[in-house]
């Protein structure tokens, strides 16, 4: 049953493709667009086309950029590299304003069940960067799940022989949460990674 007229139905359908957006929400979004002044809707459409046209990946680290090299690679110290799965992880870390080094975006993690092996993600590019000899530490910031762990292990095995320190983000009880409500896996890991006081 199609109760929308065709242009509205089409837009509802497009909005439904966004993560977590159902038919009802897509409908609300579509109505908002219909109510927008023409110029505002055009700016919206242009912004969508804009990201596809302008956003590329940094040829050094693989992060989002509009130029060949991203703003981070251009200015930061290059002796510490933080390895992440996706460009959005860069953003999450940058928000902290704590990390002063550069990044390396793998664009995926090793996941044999999905047929993704070491050659399918940007590991070769990472090794090439490490050949330069200036890098003192590689911080692995993949997610704490099966494929993130596997990727971290794999990278550690590759990088250690190069005489470069390899570290990984700590896992444990989130700050501000309670032990009682921490899930088993996290709590177990907090025990394993316990620190001397």
């Amino acid at each position: 049953m199609e109760i929308f007229i065709e242009p509205i139905g089409k837009l509802v359908n497009e909005f439904s493709k966004l993560p977590g957006v159902g038919k009802k929400t897509a409908q609300r979004y579509a109505y908002k667009i219909i109510d927008m002044p023409e110029a505002e809707a055009k700016a919206f459409a242009d912004a969508i086309l804009g990201v596809k046209r302008k956003v590329r990946y940094c040829k050094v680290c693989g992060n989002f950029t509009e130029e060949d090299e991203c703003a981070i690679c251009k200015v930061r110290e290059k002796n510490v590299i933080c390895v992440v799965k996706e460009p959005k992880d860069v953003l999450a870390i940058e928000k902290l304003r704590e990390f002063k080094g550069v990044y390396h975006v793998l664009h995926g993690v090793i996941d044999p069940l999905s047929g993704i092996g070491p050659n399918d993600i940007r590991i070769r590019e990472l090794l090439a960067r490490l050949q330069s000899g200036d890098v003192k530490e590689v911080i692995i910031a993949t997610n704490p799940d099966v494929s993130g762990d596997a990727t971290a292990m794999y990278l550690a095995k590759l990088i250690k022989p190069l005489d470069i320190k390899v570290t990984r983000l700590a896992h444990g009880i989130p700050v501000g949460s309670e032990i009682e409500y921490t899930d088993d896996v996290t709590l177990a890991r907090a025990f394993v990674e316990r620190n001397p006081l």
Copy 2:
């Protein structure tokens, strides 16, 4: 602090304009667009431009249409008119597949506090339709709030002298809910509008 590169920041900003969408959700949507194939993103942008270009209001009832007259006005019985605030209300009622008459979209309700009077909504157009003499009943389906009530009262006073039956959608306890949890205003209204068994 702008941590996004410009095209991404722009798109996040556009998505933030949608109802109920915060910065974080807008960011997720933007990443989804970046990950889309070019053709898919273009289809999205086209759908946005499409609704602005193609969607008009029916010159008879004020509902969304691509032509002069909407699909409902073209084929339905015209002796019962259901008066609603917005085109999306038409959709909500159409989904029931119960109502067989036509609609009249006011495009707003009387709301003195916002400076919206009877001449700012499509009341004149409704009266013009009623002059034809074929209309037997006007069902007022404005929302059960202060301005919806006021608009219903105002319309009833205008239409009754034309010797046309005026009714309003019933208010009461939602089907499937419990009296214990029904809010006071609704419960009070259910008493006032009680029906003989």
